[in-house]
């Protein structure tokens, strides 16, 4: 070993965590409904807020939520960001818009993509509607909605 090699200045230390995610009753209902193309949330018996996706409880009131509510696949952008930095393992190519979308009939925004629009034209208050994937691709996932697109005239 007469050759001189570059001194070590950095080491790769990847961390891989293996999880088994259990959806719980509320989220299981949400996921089985969305597999049929319906968005189902839960209403809090205390404050009447409707949560999508449902968590089986109301964080504000600290009580269980059981009443199921079907909600619209249309809503309003509450806030958004344009993602420019690629996320390792994420197939979506930047720049893309990630938005908190308040679906009609709900009281808590859910996170999804906004597409079919110039990123520069996306704004808070914009009305958007779900762009569903083809029915044959539907599974137990919120990604049955490919993204949200602007509603005409909004």
């Amino acid at each position: 070993m007469s050759e001189t090699r570059e001194p070590i200045t950095g080491i790769e230390v990847p961390i891989n965590l293996q999880f088994k995610f259990t959806a719980g009753k509320a989220l299981t209902r949400f996921l089985t409904s969305i597999r049929e193309g319906r968005i189902v949330g839960q209403r809090c018996p205390g404050c009447n807020n409707v949560y999508v996706p449902p968590r089986g409880m109301c964080a504000a009131c600290g009580i269980p939520t059981e009443e199921e509510v079907s909600v619209s696949d249309e809503g309003v952008i509450e806030s958004f960001t344009v993602v420019h930095i690629p996320i390792p393992g994420n197939p979506i190519k930047p720049p893309f818009v990630a938005a908190n979308i308040l679906l009609d009939g709900t009281d808590m925004a859910c996170l999804h993509r906004v597409s079919e629009v110039d990123n520069a034209k996306v704004h808070v208050g914009m009305r958007v509607k779900a762009r569903w994937k083809p029915r044959e691709e539907w599974d137990y996932t919120f990604e049955n909605i490919a993204w949200f697109r602007p509603v005409e005239g909004s």
Partner: protein, 148 residues
Amino acid sequence: MAEPTPELLTKSFELGYTYTRSTGPVIGHFLSELREGRIVGTRTSDGRVLVPAAEYDPVSAEALTEFVNVGDEGVVTTWSWVVDPISHHLMQKPFAFALIQLDGADVAMLHMVDAGSESAMRSGMRVRARWAAERRGSITDIICFEPT
């Protein structure tokens, strides 16, 4: 819709973080030397040798700059036997995690001992590094230690 609705959905997934750490000059030198099959420590203000090489003096907090070669053999000061290694353990057979005080060092360092069986382990036993054939500048350039 013949399929019954499951009571609870579960799914396995993996979350990976692609970290790269800067080693700094001291740990960098320690790792560069491992790549050459040598183990180095740093000498402290009170004359002790710390292995793996430490960056700062534990007493005076001064930066440590004097590197000292130590042996790749040493003594097990304490150990814990792993009966059933789990997937992320580097040895996939029963082994010991052990604190090993290398010849010329004043403190012990954590590594693994491949002793074959728990009955072959004892504090005070002498062990020797088993080096990897291809070394890249990592603590795993030492595969494990084995009884001499």
